[in-house]
């Protein structure tokens, strides 16, 4: 196994609002290795993006706070860094791609400016060297005629091209870890496939570790070596992609799999999990999935299940799994 680059231990990030404390991330642990893609899967509002923003320490303050846990990047606990030290990690060591390429580029600066800014800041380059780095970043993302594109403004480019530019910004300073927050959700299907292939290439060339946030199991199967399934602020199951697909253990994971529409099975309705995820403000005392779980028992209502390793690298938090 290659070197672990990021290790998150028992991360807790809460939002303190007038209506109460929202436990958006409540004890999340996982690790990502060099050159590996780790998928973070789950419904909307289950804490995937909050986990990502916590790693960057960019929660919207003062409401959002990291209240506990450790985040080790290459051995350094990010939560112990000063604000200024953390800022220098961003963009250089860790980068992130946001969901919507139409809004994540600044409309009044050229593409080249927006990449050059990072290059100047983190690599301390000046003059022509900056342009060279900008062009090589654009090349890495296979953007055609980069010398021309760098002089364009975002509104002159298509959505797919913009998302490549966002990728080029993220990769411009050769980060060790890249967080991709549903980077293909806003793209149409053909561009999506292209973008994913492109990413695998980028990873092969740079050996960057990727956290891929998505709700799409198709994307997971295509991109990720290992997956963490999140539910209501917790990772309920972690395993290799193969195992998750073949033998999902947690009832939530199985239910998620069943709700993926399949062409080879006829049916009147698409399967969906009954009920709603619990409010993160007011969590049930036992297992979080208990109210919607088809196999729940008494103990599930009373006590939260601990995480157990059922086979090497396969972790599940469920009373029913032994």
């Amino acid at each position: 196994m290659s070197k672990v680059i990021l290790r998150v231990e028992d991360l807790r990030s809460f939002f303190f609002t007038r209506k109460g404390v929202v436990k958006a991330v409540d004890g999340v642990s996982f690790y990502v290795c060099e050159g590996e893609t780790f998928g973070l899967v789950g419904e909307s509002a289950c804490g995937k993006t909050v986990t990502a923003l916590s790693i960057l320490r960019l929660l919207p303050e003062p409401a959002g706070q990291i209240v506990g846990g450790k985040i080790f990047l290459d051995g350094t606990n990010l939560l112990e860094l000063s604000k200024e030290e953390m800022r220098k990690y961003r963009g250089r060591m860790i980068s992130m791609i946001l969901q919507d390429p139409m809004t994540s580029l600044n409309p009044v600066y050229t593409v080249g400016d927006q990449i050059a800014e990072s290059v100047r800041l983190h690599q301390g380059l000046q003059g022509e060297k900056v342009d060279e780095e900008v062009i090589s970043a654009l090349r890495l993302l296979k953007i055609p005629s980069p010398e021309m594109i760098m002089r364009n403004y975002p509104f002159q480019l298509s959505g797919g091209m913009r998302q490549r530019v966002v990728g080029a910004i993220a990769m411009s300073c050769h980060p060790r870890l890249l967080i991709a927050d549903e980077p293909t959700t806003a793209l149409d299907a053909t561009i999506q496939a292209q973008y994913l292939t492109l990413f695998k290439d980028v990873q092969k060339q740079t050996n960057v570790a990727i956290i891929f946030i998505t709700h799409d199991f198709g994307v997971v199967g295509n991109m990720c070596q290992r997956v963490g399934v999140m539910y209501a602020g917790k990772i309920v199951e972690t395993a290799t992609t193969r195992e998750i697909f073949k033998t999902p253990k947690h009832p939530y994971t199985s239910a998620l799999m069943d709700s993926v529409p399949r062409l080879d099975q006829k049916g009147d309705r698409l399967y969906s999990i009954k009920g709603q995820p619990p409010s993160l403000r007011d969590l049930p005392p036992g297992c979080r999935f208990f109210p919607r779980c088809p196999v729940a028992e008494d103990i599930c209502r009373q006590k939260e299940p601990a995480e157990v390793e059922i086979s090497e690298g396969h972790f599940v938090s469920c009373w029913k799994v032994k």
Binding site: T103, N106, L121, Y153, I169
Partner: protein, 307 residues
């Protein structure tokens, strides 16, 4: 960019012709100027002679042609009351209005932008709340009342600043402060909300992800985007100021265009009203042109659409 400016200039010129026709017609529709010269002793012949003197006996198109021809020579006619060229009267007052307008504009806009941005970046902090309170106060208190209070406190009671007229720097303090107090709040709130919108956007999040220092995020990435909306309003405020701050000029006996237009309206001095209106129209057109050019400079999307 040059083409963009030329096109806008041509548009402004066409608008100007339209405005001149409108002013020409409206002034003539507002009443017969010869009535002002009529005395109980005037005969029909006297009236006809005055009419001929003023050129009002000629057909309308010819009158308009004369109006335009004189205008091209910078001649706006003579004041009926003062018997002096209107152009001279305006030019005499213009420096006073311009200096007052420019200084109030600069003071209020700089304050509005600075405080608005500070308030937005410290949302719901004490500074934000203080600034919001100040803004509401400035919008709620009528300008003339603030002006009178300012005179009472600073000229009558403490006698720090002169209450009226022009002269040195001290004469500017009270009128400028009053105008700024009146003009700043709206702008401040606009800048604050525009800035808040921008700060919520994904590209600001992206800028932070890139590891940029907060001052670069605010003053480079956010500010330029937040400028776009308030720019139009700033242009309109400036145009309004050029036409003379009617209330402020009157309260502080400031010999500017605002006071001139009030005097002219009260004494039904048609050529002066006509001249001032035309001057205002030209000023508004020029400022709009300037705002458009600034827009194109700030927002590349506009720049590219126009070319």
């Amino acid at each position: 960019m040059t083409r963009f400016i030329i096109v806008r200039l041509l548009q402004a010129f066409v608008a100007l012709i339209g405005i001149s026709i409108l002013i020409f017609l409206l002034v003539r529709a507002s009443g017969d100027p010869t009535l002002l010269f009529r005395t109980p002793l005037s005969t029909e012949e006297d009236i006809a002679r005055i009419r001929a003197d003023l050129g009002l006996d000629k057909p309308m198109p010819e009158q308009y042609w004369i109006f335009i021809k004189d205008l091209a020579h910078g001649d706006l006619g003579d004041s009926i009351v003062k018997r002096r060229p209107v152009t001279d009267m305006i030019l005499e007052r213009l420096p006073n209005t311009l200096s007052l307008a420019l200084s109030s504009f600069l003071v209020s806009m700089l304050l509005a932008f600075f405080l608005g941005i500070l308030a937005a970046t410290r949302r719901d902090g004490w500074l934000d709340n203080g600034v919001k309170f100040l803004a509401i106060l400035g919008q709620a208190l009528p300008g003339f009342w603030v002006a009178i209070m300012a005179i009472l406190v600073f000229s009558v009671y403490w006698q720090i600043f002169p209450a009226s007229g022009t002269g040195g720097f001290t004469h500017f303090v009270l009128p400028v402060a009053t105008m700024a107090f009146f003009l700043m709040p709206g702008m401040l709130r606009l800048v604050r909300s525009s800035m808040l919108d921008v700060l919520d956007s994904e590209y600001i999040k992206m800028a932070r992800i890139k590891g940029l220092p907060e001052r670069v995020v605010i003053w480079k990435h956010a500010l330029r985007n937040a400028l776009i909306a308030p720019l139009t309003t700033a242009g309109m405020i400036f145009a309004m100021l050029i036409t003379g701050a009617v209330i402020t000029e009157n309260v502080f006996a400031w010999p500017g265009i605002g006071r001139l237009s009030i005097e002219a309206l009260v004494s039904r001095d048609f050529p002066v009203v006509q001249g001032v209106t035309l001057m205002v129209a030209v000023a508004v057109l020029l400022i709009n042109l300037l705002v458009d050019i600034l827009y194109a400079y700030v927002d590349p999307q506009i720049r590219y659409q126009q070319m």
